[in-house]
Symmetry: C2
Subunit: 128 residues, 2 copies
Amino acid sequence: MSDQSFPGGHDCRAREIVDRVGDKWSLYVIATLGEETLRFTELKRRIDGISQRMLTVTLRNLERDGIIVRTMYPVMPPRVEYSVTPLGCELLGAVTALVGWAETRVETIEKNRAAYDERAAEQTEAFG
Amino acid sequence: MSDQSFPGGHDCRAREIVDRVGDKWSLYVIATLGEETLRFTELKRRIDGISQRMLTVTLRNLERDGIIVRTMYPVMPPRVEYSVTPLGCELLGAVTALVGWAETRVETIEKNRAAYDERAAEQTEAFG
DNA sequence: ACTCATGGTTACCTCCAGGTGCCCAAGGCA
DNA sequence: TGCCTTGGGCACCTGGAGGTAACCATGAGT
């Protein structure tokens, strides 16, 4: 798998970026930090539903990729700030385009799903 | 969660599209069908490593969303053709932009990861 | 002495995406 | 009679993503 070529001559390593963006919380973290630099607790407060652990894990992964940067001030209590790097800002831009398209089509897709489910139910009813 | 607003006023339902694209095989299926209409077995042959079940599952989901279309010919042995819809073509376009960006940055990200891991190893060595 | 806040870490558990393998219909063909 | 084909369905299993909760150091406030 690791050297599988993407159809059209694309590199499958690019899938890693889609995976990173596609996990449960990265998109929220990137988008939230894209607006302003924030501390850990404030970030947690803004992203409704995220657990402390998942925020830590997500931040670590994004930091490892160089998408966000972590700044620690050696004071007590600890003060840690997170912000997007230029690389992360680029990613945010690319993702925003995808999300923007998705928003314009989300209703179409939901109608498609409903229609599909209805057809499936009819099939089951007729032959089930 | 279902009514969580996306930072910046975005709708979290858009996450569903990212999830669809972010799963393991959808991207390959869309990209492969984006090149030409294909039958089930030929599609399976082109996407290296996919299992029969996962191809079926992925195709069903994409069909349900209206991203691909399934055409069945009632002959024996069965003949079924899959192709992308205009909606799927749009999605492919949006995703291609993201993948394109990812490809130009994949080496940067890998260097970032290596540097991060090295720093982490030094920390462990010094204090572990 | 006790409590609170920050920014975590760790152990533990659950759930499901994804993988494997067997079964199926129906006709052709030897 | 038995085996090949296509396009699946179904049962079962595992690994890992993600959730829960407890613990931690340190200093400041009272």
